[in-house]
């Protein structure tokens, strides 16, 4: 019995010394992390450092760019472009708010009333994203075209008269207006709002809502006191997932906007691609957008996070 046990055991000489083995084990997580780390360094850290450094360089494409710590680039990146910053801000905030207002009821309905259709309904929310972003945005040009039925109905109902007075649309058109840009953005980012909302709403135990009902909450009160607080992680996740890409988006402004709806992204593109010496100022604008978004997001999470997320 004891001999057979010994036979099965590895000869001690073939085993690595204990310290070496422990070391190898300690390295394993790093080895596993390596591809990810490499990826981040190559495609995240390097580009960021490049644009930060470019933002304080001077020069042009013909003579090359030199790191001259030219901080005045940042002044040039703000002063002539304040309108674009304003537009980016308004469009992204409006998009986020509208996405929340539209997405919450949809997510709520699917999560609580979807029953066996839940998965199908969620698939329907996501499926349009399988088409190219660009194609979907161009499709909106057709939808909102002047001779289209949408514009006709809106005109017949005199809605465009009101919205044009408010500066949302222009004259009797929808296309080439701030309203069209926000429409496109809301359409494009809505799934990013609905998905996290749905996830957090779906997790809510319906028995908690019954308990609320039992404890003197009407349907609305139950939503206000129980559902809403419990879905806050989804609200925060969804607004971030919508706001962050919306701030940087310029395709919608380009395709659905007009000359006076320019956003920061368009200016950066212009500086990068259509001017020989625009590189540093364009980089400075990118840095401002990045830092600005980061600060806003941090403040937002800070504020929302005090209500103890679950």
């Amino acid at each position: 019995m004891s001999t057979s046990l010994l036979d099965k055991a590895d000869p001690p000489a073939q085993q690595a010394p204990p310290e070496e083995r422990r070391q190898r084990r300690n390295l394993t997580p790093w080895v596993l992390l390596l591809p990810g780390l490499l990826w981040l360094v190559l495609f995240f850290l390097v580009p960021i450092l490049t644009s930060v450094s470019a933002s304080v360089q001077t020069g042009n494409f013909d003579d090359g760019f030199k790191l001259t710590w030219h901080w005045a680039n940042f002044v040039d990146a703000v002063k002539p472009y304040w309108r674009q910053y304003l537009h980016s801000g308004i469009f992204s905030v409006a998009t986020t708010v509208l996405c929340l207002a539209l997405g919450y009821p949809v997510a709520y309905f699917i999560a609580f009333k979807g029953g066996k259709w839940k998965s199908l309904l969620m698939a329907l929310v996501i499926v349009p994203s399988f088409t190219s972003f660009l194609i979907r945005t161009i499709a909106w040009k057709t939808i909102l075209a002047d001779n289209g039925s949408v514009v006709r109905v809106l005109n017949d109902l005199h809605i465009l008269t009101v919205t044009s007075k408010l500066g949302i649309t222009v004259g009797t058109h929808v296309l080439a207006s701030p309203g069209a840009v926000v429409c496109g953005m809301v359409y494009n980012f809505l799934p990013f709002m609905i998905l996290p909302l749905y996830t957090s709403l779906e997790k809510i135990d319906p028995r908690l809502l019954e308990a609320g009902n039992d404890l003197y909450c009407s349907t609305f009160q139950t939503w206000r006191r129980i559902t809403l607080p419990l879905s806050m992680p989804g609200v925060i996740g969804g607004t971030l997932l919508t706001f962050i890409p919306a701030v940087g988006d310029y395709v919608n402004a380009q395709l659905l906007g007009n000359a006076s709806t320019g956003v920061v992204g368009q200016s950066i593109e212009n500086l990068f691609l259509r001017k020989t010496d625009g590189y540093p100022v364009g980089s400075a604008m990118s840095v401002i957008m990045m830092v600005g978004t980061l600060v806003l997001v941090m403040m937002y999470i800070r504020k929302a996070g005090t209500e103890d997320l679950i």
Binding site: D205, L208, N213, D214, L215, Q221, I226, P229
Partner: protein, 383 residues
């Protein structure tokens, strides 16, 4: 007595269920329940798992719409009232504490929704009552199952509802805490005078706490009465087996007078009080509780006027305070006998014995039922 509370409701009145029925598709979970629960009473709904206890409570609280029937609180028909408009609160089987609120806010929830401005004193009193005052700042997930259960109780009780529905509120507690909470619950109920409807499948709990017990089986009330009534005079084999243990002996009625019914079973003649016999002709099931049965080594030792059966001891367990015997009858059936430890000689397995009991201690049931009904369920519930 009648007074108006903050919500403008009139207090007072019994809870009455009339023909209350709930069907899920073709399955009938609650079958035409007729029940009156007097105001201020401690009512226990006792039954095996899946017999429709929770469904009944949910209909009373308004969380489930009855398929048919009505619910009255006093003379008010609340069948169609919204749950949040009923002066009824529930302690849920799964606690259902709000995870985003701390313990204090969970308990304060009902009062706040009803617009109370200062809730602190009440909440603190309530938390003291369930002995969890020190946990007021914790979140529900940071509490043990038993603690959560006590908070669920406090959260419902603080509203002083007209009827408090308790869905197995002590299920997660250990035995000691369970006993303690049973006494506490009973005390609270007596003090505040609320109607408690307490659902449980623990028959001991139901017997120690309730004024009235309804034994439920497959969506119907099998029997309703005080604990002693149910124990001494079960109406069906289900109740006889589910509520404590019973020796059930099938037999045939030979003669029946106004006082005494004579039954022949296993070739012997057994008698019982006509008042405790629910069937006085044809087949009958004679029942007797194990602690009412005694053993004798010889038939000569049996006092006169007793019902006697002979058999062989097949199992003896000495428990200290009593000895439990299983006695095998010649027909193969086993009777169980609990004998108090009075210093009598203990019979070993294999011994030939005579079992006997006072005829007034037996009860008679209708012979056309499943003699085993409720027996296995009780073991399941007790486990």
């Amino acid at each position: 007595m009648s007074s108006t509370d903050v919500l403008g409701r009139t207090e007072g009145g019994d809870l009455r269920l009339a023909g209350l029925t709930k069907r899920f598709g073709a399955f009938t979970a609650v079958d035409s329940l007729d029940l009156t629960i007097p105001q201020g009473s401690f009512f226990a709904l006792l039954g095996a798992s899946g017999c429709g206890k929770t469904t009944t409570l949910r209909m009373v609280s308004g969380l489930e719409d009855p398929t048919a029937g009505q619910i009255f609180l006093g003379d008010q028909d609340v069948t169609d009232a919204k749950p949040y408009r009923r002066p009824v609160n529930t302690v849920f089987q799964n606690y259902a504490l709000f995870p985003h609120l701390d313990i204090f806010e969970n308990v304060a929830f009902g009062l706040r929704r009803r617009g109370f401005k200062s809730v602190k004193p009440q909440v603190e009193t309530m938390l003291e009552l369930v002995e969890l005052g020190h946990l007021a700042k914790r979140k529900p997930t940071q509490l043990s199952g038993g603690q959560q259960q006590r908070i669920a109780l406090a959260r419902a009780l603080i509203n002083q509802p007209q009827v408090l529905l308790l869905d197995e509120p002590l299920g997660a507690l250990d035995l000691k805490l369970r006993r303690q909470m049973q006494i506490e619950l009973k005390r609270i109920q007596t003090e505040v005078g609320l109607t408690f409807v307490h659902v449980t499948h623990d028959q001991e709990e139901a017997m120690t706490m309730a004024d009235t017990i309804a034994v439920m089986n497959q969506g119907r009330i099998e029997q309703l009465g005080s604990p002693a009534e149910l124990y001494e005079n079960p109406a069906t084999t289900f109740v006889a087996n589910f509520l404590g243990q019973s020796n059930l002996i099938p037999g045939t009625v030979e003669t029946a007078t106004d006082d005494v019914v004579t039954v022949s079973a296993y070739g012997r003649r057994l008698t019982l009080d006509a008042g405790r016999c629910r069937s006085v002709s044809g087949k009958v099931i004679l029942g007797v509780r194990p602690e009412k049965v005694q053993l004798a080594a010889a038939e000569a030792d049996v006092p006169s006027g007793r019902n006697v059966l002979s058999g062989t001891v097949s199992d003896t367990s000495f428990i200290g305070v009593s000895t439990q015997y299983l006695v095998k009858l010649p027909s193969g059936e086993e009777l169980s006998v609990f004998e108090q430890n009075t210093g009598r000689e203990i019979q070993r397995p294999g011994a030939e014995v005579f079992v006997y009991w006072d005829p007034s201690q037996g009860f008679g049931l209708d012979g056309d039922q499943d003699i085993e009904a409720g027996a296995a369920l009780d073991e399941e519930g007790a486990a």
